[in-house]
């Protein structure tokens, strides 16, 4: 008896805690994307049937983008796209089936607003790689139709409770789900950011396909109708006055919480309040601009059109109240062990049903509270970029350099995630501390690699060796010799060395005690957090590296005998 009860409760409780590991969202708020990636990767489920499969990958993809690694984000975001484009994943999986067995476990796809934002991040990743056709596809995918149940008698938007009450009133027990399935009006999306991104992608494609320009205009027009502050950006882009688009995330998005009887319903409550503070963008030598937000995630999550009513269906399917009442009656009235067993089973079944009726509050905890879009003109490489959200809880982040679009690309898109913390981190100053592959800027001590006591983390290639040799360092070494030293230290050099088979590993940079040498995108928070603050000196593991480090520290300066 006790074992049965324990098993039942254990089964239910096992399904209650899910989603990203504890502490993950805080690391992301803090800008510690490397540790956040590592924490998530260590706990990420590999089973496609696991309910957290997509949630883990969505989070990892967003963090990789924030860390300036769009190439690393690609495999997981491609998986996300694949799943989101799959129809009917949860069809034929009623809530009852999900409660009582492995078969028919609800597969988390996210609320509609989370799905739209996932498509948005996929579009951003593609745009960062100048894959404009794919960016267009992903942005268009975010513009799906919504289910509008209209307004309530009080003149406001219907809430989840309003819709549940309406479902009972119109259909009763039998017609409840029918109302949820058919009682809405399909409506065009009001996702202004999605329209804007589609406009950007089409405008970039117009370089080779002039017809795309008309499509871009149409998308920009719709974005401006929904969000008028986007108008000057759209005009500047269409008239070729700007060549760079910044997608800037700020604040932590709303939290999904339970409420109502037995916590059966769910809603999103703001973590950071919405407001109209603009984003101030200062480009060294080119002045300053201010830009309003393009997407308020709090507002999206609060509107029933952007929710999927799974909690409403689950609440209706749970028959906990009825079971509890009947179980207590049988147990109380029975003198026999059998009767007690039956009554207790009903009671436990009722408890199980009540617990299982509790709303699923899994959500993507690292969605931002708001997303800004800025369009600027970057005339020449090497200018410092400063982003500020003023006021309480705001932040100023400086990036050492931003470059104009490369090659023949008409536009560049950069994604920057502003940290959400009380203090301003030291790396937000924009003062470059390490020489790297993304810049020609020199810093003191960059005539030696970091692993040998210097401040250079450039890829060991012929050009890098030339710089070292010119400074009188490592003159008897070639690029191949230095790569061997890295390998002796078990350091993987991206992108020279083959990628690991497991694309979900998120190895840390050597600055963070990890074993990967990589360079994030220059215009990203990941770049600043790694290269704009001094790190603890490197401790060689191999004899060769230790010997080289020792001899370099004993080397007299070039001008002395």
């Amino acid at each position: 008896m006790r074992r049965t009860a324990t098993l039942l409760l254990g089964f239910v409780l096992a399904g209650c805690r899910s989603g990203p590991p504890s502490g993950f969202a805080e690391l992301v708020d803090d800008g510690q994307y490397g540790r956040a990636r590592a924490l998530l990767a260590d706990n990420m489920t590999a089973r496609t049937r696991d309910r957290d499969y997509l949630l883990d990958r969505m989070c990892l993809g967003v963090v990789e983008l924030a860390d300036g690694r769009p190439a690393a984000a690609e495999p997981v975001l491609t998986e996300v796209f694949d799943v989101l484009r799959t129809q009917g994943i949860n069809d034929d999986r009623t809530v009852r089936a999900a409660v009582f067995g492995e078969r028919g476990v609800i597969y988390w796809k996210g609320e509609p607003f989370e799905q739209a934002l996932a498509f948005h991040y996929i579009a951003v990743q593609k745009a960062m790689q100048s894959e404009w056709d794919n960016a267009r596809a992903a942005a268009n995918a975010s513009l799906f139709l919504l289910q509008d149940f209209g307004d309530n008698e009080r003149g406001g938007r219907k809430t989840t409770e309003d819709i549940a009450e309406e479902a009972y009133r119109r259909g009763g027990e039998a017609g409840y789900e029918d109302y949820l399935d058919h009682g809405y009006t399909p409506r065009e999306t009001d996702f202004a950011l999605g329209y804007f991104m589609a406009g950007v992608a089409n405008l970039a494609l117009a370089r080779v396909d002039p017809d795309r320009r008309n499509e871009a205009s149409d998308h920009f027009r719709r974005a401006v109708q929904l969000r008028p502050p986007l108008e000057p950006l759209a005009q500047d882009l269409l008239e070729n006055r700007t060549n760079t688009v910044l997608i800037v995330d700020f604040g932590r998005g709303p939290e999904k919480v339970r409420y109502g009887p037995d916590g059966a319903l769910a809603r999103f409550e703001p973590h950071v309040a919405s407001d109209d503070r603009p984003l101030e963008v200062t480009l060294e030598g080119a002045g300053r601009g201010t830009f309003g937000w393009a997407c308020d995630v709090n507002a999206m999550a609060a509107d029933h059109m952007w929710n999927n009513f799974e909690d409403v269906r689950r609440a209706k399917s749970a028959i906990g109240d009825a079971l509890l009442i009947s179980g207590a009656v049988v147990a109380a009235s029975s003198d026999s062990d059998t009767g007690n067993i039956i009554g207790l089973s009903l009671l436990l079944g009722g408890l199980v049903a009540k617990l299982s009726a509790r709303a699923d509050v899994r959500h993507c905890e690292i969605m931002p509270q708001r997303i800004y879009v800025a369009a600027i003109n970057v005339p020449a490489p090497g200018a410092r970029l400063t982003l500020t959200v003023p006021g309480p809880g705001g932040i100023t982040l400086s990036l050492p350099e931003i470059d104009p679009p490369t090659g023949r690309e008409p536009l560049a898109v950069h994604y920057i995630r502003l940290p959400c913390r009380q203090d301003t981190p030291a790396w937000a100053s924009g003062q470059l501390a390490y020489a790297n592959d993304a810049t020609n800027q020199r810093v003191p001590g960059d005539d030696m690699p970091f692993i040998l006591g210097g401040t250079c983390v450039r890829t060991p290639d012929p050009e890098t060796m030339r710089r070292y040799h010119e400074s009188g360092c490592l003159r008897d070494m070639t690029a191949g010799d230095l790569r061997n030293v890295y390998h002796a230290e078990r350091i993987t050099i991206e992108p020279l060395d083959p990628a690991p088979g497991d694309t979900h590993r998120s190895d840390l940079h050597i600055f963070e005690g990890g074993n990967v040498l990589y360079t994030p995108r220059k215009c990203s928070t990941g770049y600043a957090r790694l290269f704009c603050v001094p790190h603890a000196p490197y401790r060689p593991r191999s004899r060769e590296a230790a010997s080289l480090a020792r001899s370099s520290s004993e080397r007299p300066p070039e001008n002395e005998p």
């Binding site: 484009r85 129809q87 009917g88 949860n90 596809a137 999927n308």
Partner: protein, 195 residues
């Protein structure tokens, strides 16, 4: 002469044929299908079909081994679809067409050869220093391009994507389009898009 009348069954079949045709359009409804994304089979079928059509086209029909040589520079496929198609997949589709048996047989018969485009050649030369002189004799006379488009219809629980892939060969000397053809197919998926 007494005019022949069409038997009733034959005329009924003739009226039904268009319906049968659309029903049998490649990728027709499959109750099990959950996604309308392009699959590897779609690329294989497309490339085989286009190679066969190019071989039978007017552009090549009158050519022989002694015809003036034609060098066609191929490009990766472009797309304006609702799908994500990687660069590798774009190159795969074009490569599948030009490296098919039908096309390889044509090289001698029609005095035509296919070469990689200039940007891919430049990339090859950068990656492989020993290939710095590769492609020195390219001198393409034509360019072959392809574009995949899609139209989406989504209603209730179903979604249908109609894909259309158009191949073109353009003469570089004057920009004349000497051949084009289109391959269409649809994919349908069942179930709610989000739930």
């Amino acid at each position: 002469m007494t005019p022949r009348t069409t038997p009733r069954g034959v005329s009924a079949l003739a009226r039904a044929l268009p319906l049968v045709f659309f029903a049998l359009l490649p990728g027709a409804c499959n109750r099990e299908s959950k996604s309308t994304r392009l699959a590897a089979d779609d690329f294989s079928v497309m490339s085989s079909e286009m190679a066969a059509r190019l071989r039978a086209s007017y552009f090549l029909a009158h050519r022989g081994p002694g015809s003036p040589p034609i060098t066609v520079a191929v490009s990766k496929v472009d797309h304006l679809t609702t799908d994500l198609i990687s660069d590798g997949e774009k190159w795969y589709l074009m490569d599948s067409v030009v490296s098919s048996e039908a096309m390889r047989a044509m090289e001698q018969e029609k005095n035509i050869r296919f070469v990689i485009p200039a940007e891919r050649l430049a990339s090859l030369r950068r990656r492989v220093p020993e290939a710095s002189e590769a492609g020195a004799e390219r001198r393409p006379t034509h360019a072959m391009t392809a574009l995949i488009r899609s139209v989406t219809r989504s209603a209730g629980r179903d979604r249908t994507d109609l894909y259309s892939c158009e191949f073109r060969i353009t003469q570089l000397s004057d920009g004349e389009q000497v051949w084009s053809d289109r391959f269409e197919f649809k994919r349908t998926a069942f179930g709610r898009a989000y739930n």
